[in-house]
Structures are given as C-alpha cells and as structure tokens.
C-alpha cells in the first residue's frame, strides 16, 4: 500500500466518510461538465427534486459536438443544437458558469480548465470524460466518471470510490530532437500495456518529466487512461506554479503565496512508498506511431510492424485482428504508409505548443496532393494566441485548413470524420475501430509534428528527417 505520495495526501484531505463495504466517499473539488455526458445527469437530478450542491465548483463548456467550421446558432445539426441548448438551459437553471462560443474561452474542457487556472494542485477533479486525467499534470487527482456519477457530484459534490494503488513511472534522461511528450505517452502505453493501469494511479516522475513544460505534462497525463490508469499525475513544482501564476482563476496576492506553500507540501515525499515502480529511459524513445487498434499497439517510426512471433501469445489474436482491420502486413515498415487525412488537435495535442511544433514542420512546405489536412485549436484562447503569432497563416499557406475549437475528429461527434476506409494520421488519443467516425476508418496516432510530417509527405514520415534540414530541434519554447 502506498504512503506519503501526493495521491495519498490528496485522498486523505478529501475523505468525507467510509462507506459500507469499504468504499470511501471522496469530496470533489472541481467538477467539469460538457454537453454529451451531462444532460441525463441533470434529468435524473430533476426527477429526484435535487439541486446542484456547489454550483460555484461546477464549470461547463461545449466541445464534443461543436462544428469546427460554422459555429453560428442554431447549429446546422439539430441534434447538436438540442444538446447545446440543453446544456445552456441546465446551466442557467442551476446557476453554473458556462464557457460558450461567445465567452472567448470556449474549448475542449481539458484545455480550458488549465488555461483558466481552474485546475490546481491538490484538488480532486472529476468530469464525465475519460481524459480528465489530463489535469493530473498540476498535481491534482483527476479522473473520468460516467453520467450517474456526474449526477452524484452535482447532487453531493462527492463520489463513492475505491482507493487506487500508486505506480511511479520514472522517465529518466532527455528526449532526442523530434521526440515529444506524445511519444513518451505512446511508448509507456506500448511498454506497460493498455490494461496495466487498471486499479492504479500513475505518478509520472524522473528527470525527463521534471524538465517538461506544463503542456507536455498534460499530454502525458492525458494518455494515462490509455494505459488503463484512471488518473495520472505529476508532482507540483516551480514549472507548475509559474504556469498558474496570474491565470484568471488562480489565487492572487498574499493568497498566492499561501497557496504555493500548500501546493509544495503535497508533492510525494522523498521516502514515499509506492505499490510499484517502473523506469523508462527517455533516450530510447523514438517518434512513435500506432499500427493497430489499441494505443498499446505502437512502434517506433523506424521499426517494422511486429510479427506475431515477436508478441506475447496473449496479444497475438488482437494483433491478427489489427493486421486485418488496418490492412498492414506483419514485418512491413510503417514509414512510407500512404495516409488520406491528417488531423492536428484534441485534448491530447491541441495546445499552443503542439501547434508550434506542427507549424515548424509545415512552414515552407505544402500538404501533399490528395491529402486532407486540418488543424483544430483546443480552445478559443489557443486559437487567438496561435493567430497572434501567425501560425494560422503558416498552416494556411501550407495547405492545412484552420478550424474553430472543439474535440473534432478525435471522436467524430461533429461533421469532421473519416469516410470509408480512409487512413488518418492523428494527434489524438485513440485508434479504436470506428473511432474517427467511419466504421471501417483507420487511425495512426502520433505527435502533432509527425502528423504535419505525414501531411507534407503524403506518407508516414520520420519527422527527424524533416527537422534536420531546418536545424530545428522540434522542441521550441513552450508555455
């Protein structure tokens, strides 16, 4: 059993009561909601005559269903309009803050809460979305929940939960040029497996993580769930405090200093005990691409698609299914595979630094013939910042479409989707069968820079070969 970790400390602080059977009632410090997983929860609340217990701790935005071209109201899709309308009504009825299109702060829930300074160290954060693990980058215990649990948080600001074990994943050393936090995430999921994290919180640590900027840490924690870990986190440090300083929802003045003192005390103790520890050598990580139908079916871009005999027996049936679905042969190189659609965005990689990394590759080049390539900023704030430094123009000149913020083709609940058996190079988080909107559509997950490299080459390309010409490291300044 772990002791002295951030997870243990935050858990203890938020413990409300022990429940029959041994579960714990845990207080939820911040509840984030969006249009897809909340309407039924509000309906259940209404049926029971309950109200929202802490409206000031519940924050809403609209992201999953929003079109990324024309966001004028009413939305062209009547079902999407009905969902947006329901969220607006529920927020108005219960006095909840909603960051809608006209707020200037709308965007993917896991992009806007950090940039507003809502996500802070030591909080428990819940949201009806599995990628809530993103907020763990701030040293919060943040995890995804279902709609009945959204109802429970709305009604009681708490949840019935089992305590998790804690696995420390220490990433040592530094990343090579052209290798990004996304590659670390894919590498970890590949090495540990997609169900390794079930029952665990993942603490990401080590010298590599310590030197990561907050946006990189968010990418890493975002994909903890792809390893099965409901939450992933990084201990709060000066990098985190510098990011939060002067954000609209962060403490100010004397309160800021009290907050930082408390935040520092939450980091896992030097002598903390973990249930498990794993070491990863950052120097071994190459630009990584998925070849199959789970995020764990990943490979370095310069490797060949694994053959069944290279895989443990238990993984072979899924590999066979993946070869067929993806139309890839065991032993074939992934580099050079022609792509049809290139998508840069999502809660994993839709932040300013992601767009800068991709723009570095796109600048002075052009999307290959016949490829559809588009960039979806993670939020209105990201879009403004990117436009202010001319990234939209870089992308436009290179033949990428520059869109409005939303989840877009990560899960294709809006009009952005694959057609037929199209193959996408995507900076998102899931390559499941049918994930990107076509029942036979295929997805290769990779970093935003790698997506840009695929777009300008028309085929999966090792981004390092493009960066070497420009003498860029691919790791520019990040906020």
């Amino acid at each position: 059993m772990s002791t002295g970790t951030l997870y243990d400390k935050v858990w203890a602080l938020h413990r409300v009561a022990e429940l029959p059977g041994g579960q714990t009632q845990l207080f939820i410090g911040l509840h984030l909601i969006h249009e897809v997983t909340s309407p039924q929860a509000f309906a259940m609340l209404g049926e029971r005559g309950l109200k929202v217990r802490h409206p000031e701790r519940t924050v809403a935005t609209v992201d999953h269903i929003v079109p990324t071209t024309d966001q004028g109201r009413p939305l062209a899709d009547p079902l999407a309009e009905a969902m947006l309308g329901a969220l607006e009504k529920n927020c108005a009825d219960h006095g909840l803050r909603l960051y809608g299109f006209d707020s200037g702060q709308q965007g993917i829930v896991h992009v806007i809460a950090p940039e507003l300074g809502l996500s802070q160290p030591g909080m428990t954060i819940a949201c009806g979305d599995s990628h809530t693990s993103t907020h763990g980058a701030f040293g919060a215990i943040a995890f995804g929940i279902g709609t009945s649990q959204v109802r429970d948080v709305l009604a009681s600001q708490s949840l019935a939960l089992d305590k998790l074990k804690v696995r420390r994943i220490a990433v040592h050393g530094s990343l090579s040029p052209g290798v990004f936090a996304k590659d670390v995430a894919l590498h970890v999921v590949r090495r540990l497996g997609v169900k390794s994290g079930v029952g665990h919180a993942y603490e990401f640590a080590g010298s590599c993580v310590a030197t990561m900027a907050m946006e990189e840490r968010m990418t890493l924690c975002n994909m903890a769930i792809e390893a099965g870990a409901r939450c992933g986190y990084v201990n709060p440090d000066q990098v985190c405090f510098d990011y939060l300083h002067n954000r609209p929802e962060a403490p100010r003045g004397a309160a800021w200093h009290r907050a930082v003192t408390w935040w520092r005390s939450l980091a896992s103790d030097a002598n903390a005990a973990y249930d498990d520890e794993v070491a990863v050598d950052a120097g071994e990580i190459a630009p990584t691409v998925t070849w199959g139908i789970t995020p764990g079916q990943a490979m370095a871009v310069d490797e060949v698609v694994p053959t069944p005999d290279q895989l443990p027996p238990g993984e072979r049936p899924l590999a066979e299914e993946a070869y067929r679905y993806m139309d890839l042969r065991p032993g074939q190189p992934i580099a050079g595979t022609p792509v049809d659609v290139c998508f840069i965005g999502s809660c994993t990689n839709g932040r300013l630094s992601d767009l800068r990394d991709a723009a570095l590759v796109a600048r002075g080049r052009h999307v290959a013939h016949g490829i559809k390539a588009f960039v979806v900023p993670g939020s209105q704030q990201v879009a403004r910042a990117a436009e202010a430094e001319g990234l939209d123009a870089v992308f436009a000149q290179a033949g990428f479409e520059w869109r409005r913020p939303g989840c877009s083709m990560c899960l294709a609940m809006n009009p952005d989707r694959l057609e037929g058996r199209q193959l996408s190079a995507s900076s998102s988080n899931r390559n499941f069968k049918g994930r990107q909107g076509s029942a036979s559509g295929r997805t290769l997950l990779m970093s935003p820079a790698m997506v840009a490299a695929a777009a300008v080459s028309g085929v999966v390309t090792d981004v390092r070969t493009l960066l070497s010409h420009t003498k860029d490291t691919g790791r520019g300044p990040v906020p």
Binding site: G21, L50, L161, W262
Partner: protein
C-alpha cells in the same frame, strides 16, 4: 428513491470473445448525440454487428433475451461514456462476467446496479464455451458467494467488497447515501485550503449557502 438490492441474476448467457473491446465499439459515438439514454439498446455494437452481417452474438436468435454477458480481458476500455453499459442494459444484459474490466466501465455498471464479476482465464473461457455450445442453458449468478451456477457447474468468480456490498445492500445508486453525510461533507469542505484559505472571492460568497437537499 431507494434502489433494490441486487442479490442474484438469472438467465441465459451470451459470449463475446476478444480482448480490449472498447466503449466506442459497444456504442459508437454518433449514437451519443442525444439528451437521453432511451433507444440505445438498439445500437449496441452497431458497427461490429453490421460488419458481422448477422453473425454477431447480439444478432443470433439463440441469444435473444440473454441476461449474462461473458467477455475476456479489459472489457469496456476507453471512453467513460455511461452510454455503453446503458446500451447493454437496454438490450437486456443484467450482469457481466469477464477476465477483467476497465475501471470507469465497471464503476458505471455499478451505478446502474449491473454487477461486473471477474474470473480466471480458464473459468471465463469455460463459461464462454458452455454458452456457445449450449445457448439454452440458464445460469444463476449469486452475488454474496460470487459464484455462477449453470448445468452442473459452479464457477468461482470475484468482485471487490465495496461494489459487492453496494449491490447487496441496494446502495449501488449512491446519491442518497452520499447526501446523507451532509455534516461530513461540510466539514471536509471547510478544511480544504483551496476552498477557504486561498479561495477566490466568488467561492467565499457562495460558500456555505447550500443546504443538504436530501
């Protein structure tokens, strides 16, 4: 509203083989474009079923009316969408037995009073074999003992004591239980530095104004 205790689940089985079956496959995202869960049962495994052209277990007439779903490893991984267990339940599933489950999926099932029990690989594969070869066999899942009975077999299964107790005592719908701790909720909130010591003014203004509203 007090939910009913879940002590046993009886009925025929349906086996779905394969590891890492994600919630996008259980219910593709396009069916989430709704403000209710009604009708989701018709679309469970929509794309897999279309691809299998009538040969998917959920389309086989002999499995119509089955109540106990038997799956392999890491079932329900991926998206947190409760639409997935909702769709299974609305199709008719009342309990799931598998080698392992993704965490959010099993907690979503619990919130619906739908037990998820795990078994060793050999046990689960044996149950799947019985279901496939003799689809008419009726099973009885007994939650207190964590066993599945069918034919002349008793298979030993596992469930954590937390979910097991919540189901057996009818507390799987946790809202009432959580709200009954109003005093404890207030005490916890009053001790959290970010809600008190360095909270933004807006929090102070609203703080403490909520009653327990059970």
């Amino acid at each position: 509203m007090t939910p009913a205790p879940v002590t046993t689940v009886e009925g025929r089985g349906i086996a779905l083989q394969g590891h890492d079956i994600d919630t996008d496959r259980i219910i593709p995202a396009r069916f989430l474009k709704t403000i209710s869960f009604a009708g989701l049962g018709d679309h469970v495994f929509a794309d897999d079923r279309a691809a299998a052209a009538g040969r998917h277990p959920f389309d086989c007439p002999e499995h119509k009316g089955a109540r106990i779903l038997v799956v392999n490893r890491n079932f329900g991984c991926g998206s947190s969408r409760e639409h997935a267990p909702q769709a299974l339940r609305r199709w008719g599933i009342a309990a799931v037995v598998g080698e392992s489950f993704a965490e959010i999926f099993s907690s979503n099932c619990l919130a619906l009073g739908m037990p998820c029990l795990t078994g060793d690989t050999g046990v689960v594969e044996h149950i799947q074999q019985v279901v496939q070869e003799q689809p008419h066999v009726r099973f009885c899942l007994t939650l207190a003992a964590s066993t599945l009975h069918g034919l002349d077999h008793d298979w030993s299964l596992m469930i954590d004591s937390g979910p097991q107790t919540m189901l057996l005592t009818g507390c799987w719908d946790a809202t009432g239980l959580l709200l009954s701790h109003g005093q404890e909720l207030r005490r916890t909130a009053s001790q959290l530095p970010y809600l008190n010591d360095f909270a933004l003014p807006a929090d102070h203004r609203l703080w403490g104004s909520q009653d327990d509203g059970v």
